[in-house]
Amino acid sequence: MPLIEFRNVNKWFGDFHVLKNINESVEKGEVLVICGPSGSGKSTLVRCINRLEDINQGEILINGRTITGKDQNLNELRAEIGIVFQQFNLYPHLSVLRNITLAPVKVKKISKEEAEKTALRLLDRVGIGNQAHKYPIELSGGQQQRVAIARALAMKPQIMLFDEPTSALDPEMINEVLSVMKDLAREGMTMLCVTHEMGFAREVADRIIFMDHGEILERGTPTHFFTSPEHERTKAFLREIL
């Protein structure tokens, strides 16, 4: 049984058909990279999994159970799924440590001491253990994004979603974030990454899907994707980006 499954998913923003009949599944521990031109629906696809966006048709299942029903408890669902955004979205009025412990303490009711221990361990893991008491504004973009990853991991999620996590970063900071993501992939986290980092995709992805105009045009292993893509649109995209 796949961990995540899309069944005939359709979504519209008004008249704009943003997801067209999506069928896809992700196994536990799999790293799926989603690429495509902007406006192709790849962010929307990822954001439907934790219901930041709602779909109009079809269903999405996690562990075989539908999560797109009306009676789905959103807070329970979201506590299981970490997401990292393009713009970090750290809380500017809270210290790095409090950014990370807020949800574990308030949602999972973990004690403050326990949550702080976990937070410090996670900060060490993403390489900024000494920044716990600073405020987000005092950190570089790359450091802020690593805090955002630690914040998501603190909930011990089953699935991590990355929505263009390096697109807002200066070039010299991209690698520090990617290396944290690579570690995570190696440790067996199930990851869906929307990204333009083709080097990362080639190295880490188990599978890559290519989207355009709300459709999945191409799917396959990195080798297939980079050496023998079938679709003309994919070839054009790869020529542009590589």
Partner: protein
Amino acid sequence: MHYSFNWALIFSDEYGRWFLEGLSITLQLSGLSIILALVLGTMLTTMRLSRIKPLVWFAVSYIEFFRNTPLVVQIFFWYFGSDPILPDFFKHWLYQQNIEFAIGVIALSTYTAAFIAEELRSGILSIPKTQLEASRATGLTFLQAMGYVILPQAFRIVVPPLISQFLNLIKNSSLAMTIGVMELTYMARQVEAHTFHGFEAFTVATLMYLSLSLLVSLGINQYNRRCLRVSR
């Protein structure tokens, strides 16, 4: 007619004490009303932004109603007119209090809450939507996200307009004298009636209001500057 100033009389034991008593009531009246107005204003804003139709509707009508009628009329309404519509247990509780003071607090806080709600709403709307999204995405409920993430940021943004609401409330508290609350203006009036030294009496009251307002705005600004230094 010759007017001879007599400041010593105003600061004599008896009248000096009247002023201090009046000032103390003004402080209690304003302090309590500010706290209640903040709580009520925050609740109204949260309702207004909740997307739950009946709550939004309630908050909008409340705000429009209280902002657009004169405070004195509201005070008189609470004092002379509210009897038929208040529930019994509330009336019972009210009559055990110092009723003039209690009505003063109710009128000032319900009135000011409408303004505070609007200031807060503009503060909340200036916080990027992604903050709400990021906090909801970790599993926080709407109320938790508001309480821990959105409101603390919004409050800091709206400190300057909030200060002016606080100062308005302090000045408006003088209207409570119309229903016999023995606050500063009421006491100044008493001193004037006893001494016929209106110039001195109201000069003292004026200076007391002025220094109170300046202290409040200075204090809050100082506090806010300290907060801003660490987090933005």
